[in-house]
């Protein structure tokens, strides 16, 4: 009874509205298809290049009247700022410049995507300093996105930068970049869980590590090792050699050896026991050792990747003079030693080693903070890439790592 009644009333009452609905639905679908088809006929415009003329995009410097400075940096890359004695607080006390400091750089590629539209069309990004890794810094300088520094304002920088960071091909005399920290990429392992992992080859092939290692999503770090492992030189390689190295990585991933490709978060996985060994950045490992001495950093037989993170003043920045004051301040060896004691990466400032004696003597002879000649001799760097290579290599690498 009930079903019959509802069925009937439905047919009667909803009859007209259903047809109208069907009409609307059909119309909607037709419109959608129509718009899509029309879109194919409509003029589509290409997109212009993001390269700009740096000189024509410089922001007006209002440093004299606005004692402010906006900085974007990586997480855990400065001593705790709230303390009155912190390097940042002392800077503010000395200069009267208030610092708006954000740790919103988690990934070079992601940060690039974030600022691309503004910097590619001469718009400001609301920052006075951003800190990016060497290859990304080189790319942005090449695109004309970075303001030129006044060398007269940063005398301590030019005087105190350590030798390995001088004369880099992409910006030999610090006209556009100033190193913030630099570091090494090697292997970390948990000595409580597994025996020493001495080489990248062991990391990728040892059976007791299967599914319990992680590698880094930074293409240059991971592929630097893969290239070395397959007999090529990361500083100068051909497309074929790249292909061989990538195939090797693909095999390792398919075999289930690699649990994940990560950014900084590998350190939590290592502490939690989800992984027992991994490709790692030196400073992270030293910081982790304070909590768990069983975590060790190894210089792999293949060598170490050397990289640097650099301060850049983007186009449209309105406090360049304040930014230069900040850069110069951190190249005072006393300040640099204080920062290095907390950050634990390689200190880019000459003379900081002597100052470290007063702060934490245990760190003075740590080759991961003040590298000796033997450590530096083992370092490798990655070949500079052009835009076309970046797209091709990063794309192929991301296909293997799963982004």
């Amino acid at each position: 009874m009930v079903t019959v009644a509802t069925g009937d009333s439905r047919r009667v009452q909803h009859g007209p509205s259903t047809t109208r609905r069907a009409l609307l639905r059909g119309g909607g679908a037709a419109a959608f298809v129509g718009v899509s088809a029309a879109a194919l006929k409509l003029p589509f415009f290409g997109v212009e290049g993001a390269r700009v003329e740096a000189a024509s995009c410089v922001g007006t410097d209002v440093s004299a009247s606005q004692k402010e400075l906006v900085i974007s940096n990586w997480p855990a890359y400065i001593d705790p700022r709230r303390k009155k004695t912190s390097t940042s607080a002392v800077f503010t006390a000395q200069t009267g410049i208030t610092v708006d400091y954000t740790d919103d750089v988690n990934d070079n590629a992601e940060f690039y995507a974030k600022v691309k539209n503004q910097l590619g069309s001469c718009q400001p990004v609301g920052r006075d300093i951003m800190v990016l890794t060497d290859w990304m810094a080189a790319r942005m300088i090449d695109l004309g996105w970075i303001q030129e520094l006044d060398l007269a304002e940063i005398p301590d920088v030019t005087a105190n930068v350590i030798e390995p960071l001088r004369g880099l091909s992409w910006d030999p005399d610090f006209r556009h970049h100033v190193p913030w920290q630099t570091g090494l990429t090697g292997i970390a392992y948990n000595a409580d869980a597994v025996g020493e992992v001495g080489s990248f080859e062991e990391l990728l092939t040892r059976a007791d590590l299967k599914g319990r290692i992680s590698l880094l999503t930074e293409m240059r770090d991971t592929m630097g090792f893969m290239l070395k492992l397959t007999g090529a030189d990361p500083a100068e390689f051909t497309d074929d050699q790249w292909g061989t190295a990538l195939d090797e990585l693909r095999k390792v991933v398919a075999a289930g050896q690699v649990r994940a490709f990560t950014g900084n978060e590998y350190i939590q996985d290592l502490a939690a026991g989800n992984i027992v060994a991994c490709e790692a950045w030196s400073g992270d490992v030293i910081q982790a050792q304070f909590d768990n001495p069983a975590i060790k950093f190894v210089t792999p037989e293949e060598g170490l990747m050397l990289w640097s993170d650099n301060m850049l003043v983007p186009n449209g920045a309105t406090h360049q003079a304040n930014a230069e004051a900040w850069m110069n301040y951190y190249y005072d060896p006393v300040v640099a030693a204080k920062l290095a004691a907390w950050v634990n990466y390689i200190c880019p400032v000459q003379g900081a080693q002597a100052e470290m004696e007063k702060i934490d003597p245990s760190l003075v002879d740590n080759p991961l903070i003040f590298p000796d000649d033997a450590t530096l001799a083992a370092t490798m760097s990655f070949m500079p890439l052009d835009e076309e290579q970046i797209t091709r290599y990063e794309g192929a690498f991301a296909d293997v790592t799963g982004g």
Binding site: R20, F45, G49, A109, G211, A260, A272, T391, G402, G403
Partner: protein
């Protein structure tokens, strides 16, 4: 609705102009029609700005010359081969996403139906509290909730140890970095989107219909399938859509809880866009994903036949 709208103007003219009903057009009717279109404007403008324009730009991007770069810019060459190329390269993550999305939706439906049923019919005075509890996880961010699953499912954690003790998992078995963790994460994260529409449908059901079913000698199971289930179909359809669509495109769960071998299409698009800066490929893959989902949803809604949704 339709019939009253059609009749009302006639009735009005009858009252105001009883002598000459023919030569006076129904003014209120026309006005009402115009106002109706005016009222549509904000919605249409919103759609135009936030859907049509971005979609147009996405479609354009997907047809760019793939040899372009950020330095040189991208030329519009109507390079349709982009579509074929990304399909060849990424059909695996694409299928995997649809599969994981379907699995998560099925689990959500089973879990969500039981929960929504309990809240609607059995919760009594606890009904509101239980609804708040369903929504409560939203007070924490999506990312934090997914990251907490990493702790819960950790290799040395309580869950894995218990399962190993019960021999459900082997001694070197694990949950993280497996499809199980990814699908479980998706199910967990999208469950509320299933429960709420189901609850809304179930709560509306007139209890007397179920009583009538048992009066007519239907046992509870038959009663459920003849009365409750059909009446809850609108909730089922909107719940499955609200779960399936976002879970297919999701990449956070696969990224945090999976390994490279569980990667979903969302990750691929994200890495094509941010890491490789291969905008044409990223655009083409996005359009393909969108087209597949729209097609599947259309077929599904037709088959399900719930007109309340369209």
């Amino acid at each position: 609705m339709t019939s009253t709208a059609g009749v009302a103007p006639l009735a009005e003219t009858d009252v105001t102009q009883p002598s000459a009903p023919d030569d006076v057009p129904p003014p209120s009717g026309r006005k009402r029609g115009r106002i109706g279109y005016l009222l549509l404007l904000p919605g249409l403008a919103w759609l135009a700005v936030f859907f049509v324009v971005p979609f147009y730009s996405l479609l354009a991007t997907s047809l760019f010359d793939p040899s372009g770069s950020d330095t040189r810019g991208y030329d519009m060459t109507y390079h349709v081969a982009n579509y074929w190329n990304v399909l060849q390269d990424y059909w695996q993550p694409l299928l995997r996403s649809l599969w994981y999305g379907a699995l998560a939706t099925a689990f959500c439906l089973v879990l969500g139906y039981v929960l929504a049923y309990a809240i609607a019919f059995k919760a009594g005075r606890w009904k509101n509290l239980m609804l708040v509890l369903v929504i409560a996880p939203f007070f924490t961010s999506f990312l934090v909730r997914t990251l907490s699953w990493k702790l819960i499912l950790a290799d040395d954690g309580f869950v894995v140890n218990t399962l190993q003790f019960l021999h459900v998992l082997g001694d070197d078995g694990r949950l993280l970095a497996t499809p199980v963790a990814v699908v479980a994460g998706l199910t967990y994260n999208f469950l509320p989107f299933m429960v709420l529409p189901l609850f809304a449908s179930l709560d509306k059901i007139d209890g007397r219909l179920i009583e009538a079913a048992s009066d007519l000698y239907a046992n509870p199971v038959v009663g459920f399938f003849k009365v409750t289930w059909p009446l809850s179909l609108p909730g089922v359809v909107s719940g499955t859509l609200l779960t399936f669509i976002p879970s297919v495109g999701d990449y956070i769960n696969a990224q945090l809880l999976g390994s490279p071998n569980q990667r979903m299409v969302g990750s691929v698009i994200q890495s094509l866009f941010t890491d490789a800066n291969d905008y044409p490929a990223a655009g083409a893959l996005s359009v393909i994903l969108m087209a597949i989902i729209v097609a599947m949803v259309l077929v599904y809604v037709r088959r399900a036949g719930t007109e309340e949704l369209l």
